[in-house]
Point group: C2
Chain length 220, copies 2
DNA sequence: AATAAAATTTAGACAAATCTAAAAATATTA
DNA sequence: TAATATTTTTAGATTTGTCTAAATTTTATT
């Protein structure tokens, strides 16, 4: 089965929203898609007809198994292309999202598989997000956000929650990238900000909001 | 200026047709695009409004300078992606056309320039067609079809005229690829077929139709 | 529970790109 | 050159994805 660009975009967004909230509602999807609630309703009818969606009028909706697999196919393509753009074409990681949004809709199955092999079958994209395999299986990693790590413990940055250009720009400024060794020196109770130490850098302070979006795992 | 996928496809086809015939007419473009003459007329009006086309009703049409530049941008992307698919992803050269038809519409200028650099700024695509540079300048090469080459002279295959999957499949069977050294041993006047010798292969016979689509240049 | 507010859906419209059928213009030929 | 054939354009319809405004349903509040 293949889908239009618009269908794929809706499917992908619904997938991400239902990861957080279970059932998805019309207005939140409209906000994510930067469109109107009426347009969402129109598309929901189409996706239900194509048997990708559990949906009852006024009751919310979520992808069924077929819908989730379709979403994971798009997510897989998006993240493989992001990996390509950063690792092969040397793009900065905060510049690749929009381009990957276009590339993810290229339809050839064989292209995706060859790209995957060419890249060395990576498990995580440049933002640390897991890349589903061709069957939709997602690699797991034990990670916590920086705010929960014991003081002085050295850990490795594994992914970033908020992936806005603004956030990625800020992390670049702090010299925080995937794989960066990092430790928390002090927690300020006043506003939850943290004094941190990045390898080879002076200690500095990050806000609680930043800390919650930096995910880390134990050093291997 | 950026264009829709449909506009880009029309622009590209008009470019190729006008290379052969100067002025292009509605029916031949409709045939190339596998659409109806009425649809072509509709698009011609749009392209004229966007000042890409010299067009007078019933009189035929051709791209102006802006139109040609737009066409060359698409051709450049198409050929760079074909090069990528064959040289990096190891696709057979007869399998890449359809995928490149999708990739050529990805819009990022920076992507194209980085891809070009990543590939080593190639001058010719896997079918031997020249790749325009970012300014639309096309590399030239002195080439003739196999039918016009003196007997026994060893030349190098530089490009292929007819790029249908059928033709490319046939050339694969003859072990003719770009860069293959080749010579003509005998010309049969009866039907114009040629006995040829491909390096490391037994002599064999190709039809006049094949010969006319195999372009060669002098060995460097 | 009645009413107000919020969320969602329906109805009807629009733009892009296509189509069919018919009309108009041009080209061919007897 | 008049009749015929071919090519091209116009007129109007269709599909996809979107929109606005109004109607409906659900949820929250007094």
């Amino acid at each position: 089965m293949s889908y239009t660009v618009s269908e794929e975009n809706y499917i992908k967004r619904i997938y991400h929203l239902q990861q957080e909230t279970g059932l998805v509602n019309t207005n939140s999807l409209a906000a994510e898609m930067q469109t109107r609630a009426a347009s969402v309703t129109d598309m929901l009818k189409k996706l239900k007809t194509k048997k990708l969606l559990q949906y009852e009028k006024y009751k919310g909706f979520k992808l069924n198994e077929a819908g989730k697999k379709a979403a994971l196919d798009v997510v897989r393509k998006h993240r493989l292309w992001e990996y390509f753009l950063v690792e092969k074409l040397q793009f900065d990681w905060d510049k690749v999202h929009a381009i990957a949004e276009e590339l993810e809709h290229i339809s050839s199955e064989e292209l995706v598989q060859r790209l995957d092999n060419f890249l060395g079958n990576p498990s995580f994209d440049p933002h640390g997000d897991p890349i589903p395999d061709r069957n939709g299986k997602i690699p797991v990693i034990n990670q916590q956000n920086l705010g929960t790590i014991p003081l002085k413990k050295i850990v490795t940055v594994s992914s970033v929650g908020n992936q806005s250009a603004e956030m990625l720009d800020m992390l670049k400024h702090y010299h925080i990238a995937l794989g960066t060794p990092i430790s928390v020196l002090k927690r300020f109770e006043f506003d939850g900000s943290l004094e941190i130490k990045v390898l080879h850098r002076n200690a500095c302070i990050i806000s609680e909001q930043v800390a919650k979006n930096v995910f880390v795992h134990d050093v291997q």
